[in-house]
């Protein structure tokens, strides 16, 4: 059988000389589910874009790209339009000058029936749960009858049950002859559903195998190019309540925080497990003091309501924001200036009315060393650092400021395995030193690995609580999906 998609010696060099993809050969057979694995920055997404004909390679040959559908990691849907409008956009069925809405709806229903994608054609996309929105994106691609479907990190935003439903759909598609390429860094999924696996590292293919003939360890080893660094040991600590939240509600709309009552004790990591968009952002913003809320919060018995965002930092409530580039760093500033941000108006960084540059430099140097920030100098622009190194600067700033309570929101999002291990280890060390840590992560594995206690968030409320030693993966997954 001829391949549905073939890449021969494909190379992509970006202006500036970054070799994102280097001499990659890849062939997809009709009806197979093929996993493409690699760390962040290994070149997977670039490869997907090339395979789908969205960007052209600087070298090599691609055949079959005209029949490739691409399901994006961040859905490219129009939130305020209806499902059917999104599906037919660009290829609208017409009756005279108008769109034939009835035909479009029928098309959606037909796709829904034939692939088991349960979606209401008239729903407004932004009101849909993430898993359903993803079905809309898949449906839009299927409407073009592709021979190959490429999915970029499709499970990153899904709850475990939704992941199962997704793979059932993909298996249906594959059974009908569509070639499926799933880009992922979650290895358990690979082994459960794919037939073949290709691993890329630094733009090159470093491993090809039938899934049946390999193991998670072998794939992980190939991805990292060595063994994965071990995490810091968790020490026994004395726990006393540090942060207490009572009946906190914040924000409005589908992603609001509706009601949360919990405490985080010094010397423990409380993990918030949940799918993105279930109130975690409103919770973190309320704690940081940047979003108004109802209810009460206190830190070591001191009421926080009277404190603004800056005063909360001074009181020891410190955050690792979820979007380092938008909420944590000023990319055009140097590392040194960035580590001073937020602490610039108090000792030791402030001297009189000025910022003490020597203290700022000393702090930056300390963070660069302790958090292993790979940079030519502390004067380097934050924007010039890789994502992992940017994150180390953010985490370093948060943990170096004598924190009492740390909110770590997706602290390892989009960074490589080495940086992930370092960030996670530093969080554990902070916990060992008596800091109260609230870890919010959409990666259940991360919560399971780090937390002493897990709270599951669903639709803005806490749906369940688990103590370490009694973590029940299946039960947590079910609560995340609203069961």
């Amino acid at each position: 059988m001829s391949a549905a998609l073939e890449l021969h010696g494909v190379t992509k060099v970006y202006p500036g000389g970054v070799r994102a993809v280097d001499e990659v050969d890849l062939a997809l057979e009709p009806g197979e589910i093929h996993a493409l694995c690699g760390e962040n920055g290994a070149g997977k997404s670039t490869l997907a874009q090339i395979a789908a004909g969205k960007i052209s390679p600087t070298g090599g040959r691609v055949s079959g790209a005209d029949r490739v559908g691409l399901v994006h990691q961040h859905f490219e849907l129009v939130g305020r339009l209806r499902v059917w409008e999104n599906v037919v956009l660009g290829r609208e069925p017409r009756r005279g000058a108008r769109i034939d809405a009835a035909a479009a709806r029928e098309r959606v229903r037909e796709l829904a029936r034939s692939y088991g994608l349960d979606v209401d054609p008239d729903a407004i996309v932004e009101t849909l749960p993430v898993g359903v929105a993803q079905r809309v994106e898949i449906m839009r691609e299927l409407a073009r009858e592709p021979r190959v479907l490429v999915l970029d990190e499709p499970t990153a935003v899904l709850a475990p049950v939704e992941i199962d439903a997704l793979f059932r759909t993909l298996e249906t598609l594959a059974a009908r002859g569509t070639a499926i390429l799933v880009i992922t860094h979650k290895l358990a999924e690979v082994l459960a559903h794919a037939e073949r696996v290709t691993v890329v590292r630094a733009g090159r293919v470093v491993m090809r195998s039938l899934v049946a003939e390999t193991s998670i360890d072998a794939i992980a080893h190939a991805m990292v190019g060595g063994t994965i660094p071990a995490l810091a040991e968790r020490a026994r600590t004395d726990v006393v309540p540090a942060f207490v939240a009572r009946d906190v509600a914040a924000g409005d709309g589908a992603h609001a925080l509706r009601e949360a009552t919990f405490e985080v004790r010094g010397g423990e990591i409380v993990g918030i497990a949940g799918v993105e968009g279930n109130g975690q952002t409103a919770l973190a913003d309320a704690i940081a003091g940047v979003l108004p809320y109802r209810g009460t919060m206190s830190l070591n018995g001191r009421t926080l309501e009277t404190l603004g965002a800056g005063a909360r930092i001074g009181a020891g409530v410190r955050s690792i924001p979820q979007d380092r580039q938008r909420e944590a760093l000023v990319l055009d500033w140097s590392i040194a200036e960035n580590v001073a941000l937020g602490d610039h108006d108090r000792a030791p960084l402030r001297r009189g009315i000025a910022i003490d540059r020597r203290a700022e430099n000393a702090l930056a140097t300390r963070i660069v060393e302790r958090f292993d920030v790979r940079t030519p100098s502390i004067r380097t622009r934050a924007g010039a650092l890789s994502g992992g190194n940017q994150q180390k600067v953010v985490v370093g700033r948060t943990l170096s400021g004598a924190p009492v309570f740390v909110v770590a929101f997706q602290p390892t999002r989009g960074i490589d395995v080495g940086a992930t291990a370092l960030v996670q280890s530093r969080l554990i060390e902070a916990r060992n030193a008596g800091v109260a840590v609230l870890l919010v992560s959409f990666e259940l594995d991360e919560v399971l690995a780090l937390a002493d206690r897990i709270l599951v968030m669903y639709r803005g409320s806490i749906a369940g609580s688990f103590e370490r030693g009694a973590f029940d993966r299946a039960r947590i997954g079910a609560l995340m999906a609203g069961a």
Binding site: E76, L77, V78, L81, N86, I99, H255, E276
Partner: protein
């Protein structure tokens, strides 16, 4: 103002250029272009109409010239914003200055006198009525186009998330430029109404900020053609009311500020919540803020 009928007809006359401009603004903003060059488009429309009527003796040709002039100016904005990545506000401001300076210079070149043109052949009472009717017909047509046609769907998608349009295989640059072309034609007619409909001359500064009032009408009308036309009609009535109230001693400056206060009220939620298209004024290569951060979308304006 002697009778209610007189007040209504003056309201319609005052509203018509605003309706055309507000429809132009609506279609642009729904496609993701914040068109502050409407003021300039009204200006060049008004000028071109008079200049061509002066040269040919035909006010109808003048009207066509106004359409072309409006298109040229707005398309420049569309092209600058989509092809060359110029900031929409900067480009729009530049085009407004170009229109003001160009028409002031044009007065001297075409008519040999600064400040105002001589009287030319105007559209007359019949033409004026036809344009008034056309303005409101255009509102209904545009609403239907936006709601029911493939192009309308693409415009709406482009104003919300141009990346989705691109991944659907449609070039969002083209959609946005086409929207500015349609807008330019509408604003050009609005300008011609000012100079050849209401009057029979062009004078410097005769648009008097109507392009900006139209933008306020877009907001007050919640970014729909019918809403914007309704808002423009209300603002037209306000300006007709000025003549009545001025006699009663209410300062006209206060009345002139009312459209902006109304837009502010619409934005702050005093008169129901308004929610702008997510990618309104956002360059094509940028992700609208709510896309990357769906969770954050909840704390922003939500129009429900």
């Amino acid at each position: 103002m002697d009778s209610f009928a007189g007040f209504v007809s003056l309201s319609l006359v005052k509203a018509t250029p605003l309706v055309f401009a507000a429809l132009a603004g609506t279609i642009c903003e729904r496609a993701g272009i914040l068109n502050i060059a409407l003021e300039g488009a009204l200006t060049v429309g008004a000028f071109a109409a008079v200049a061509v009527s002066f040269a040919t003796g035909s006010p109808v040709l003048g009207l066509f010239a106004a359409v072309l002039a409006g298109i040229a100016l707005c398309a420049l904005l569309g092209i600058a914003a989509t092809r060359f990545g110029v900031d929409q506000i900067v480009a729009g401001t530049g085009l407004n200055l170009l229109a003001a300076g160009g028409t002031a210079f044009g007065l001297v070149v075409v008519f040999g006198q600064p400040g105002a043109s001589p009287e030319v052949h105007a559209l007359g009472a019949g033409g004026e009525k036809a344009l008034i009717v056309a303005a409101f017909v255009a509102a209904f047509v545009l609403q239907a186009v936006l709601d029911r046609t493939p192009w309308g769907l693409r415009v709406r998608a482009c104003g919300e998330n141009p990346r989705a349009v691109r991944s659907a295989g449609v070039d969002p640059r083209r959609v946005r430029v086409t929207a500015t072309v349609v807008a330019g034609a509408l604003a050009g007619i609005g300008g011609a109404f000012l100079s050849l409909g209401e009057l029979d001359i062009y004078s410097d500064g005769m648009t008097a900020g109507r392009g900006f009032i139209a933008l306020a009408a877009v907001i007050f009308g919640r970014w729909t053609p019918l809403g914007a036309a309704g808002a423009a009609l209300a603002f037209g009535a306000l300006s007709a009311l000025q003549f009545v109230l001025q006699r009663a001693g209410v300062p006209s400056e206060l009345m002139q500020a009312l459209p902006y206060l109304a837009a502010l009220a619409a934005l702050t939620g005093i008169v129901g919540r308004a929610r702008a298209p997510a990618a309104d004024g956002v360059p094509l290569d940028e992700r609208p803020a709510h896309i990357g951060r769906m969770a954050k979308g909840s704390v922003e304006n939500r129009g429900d």
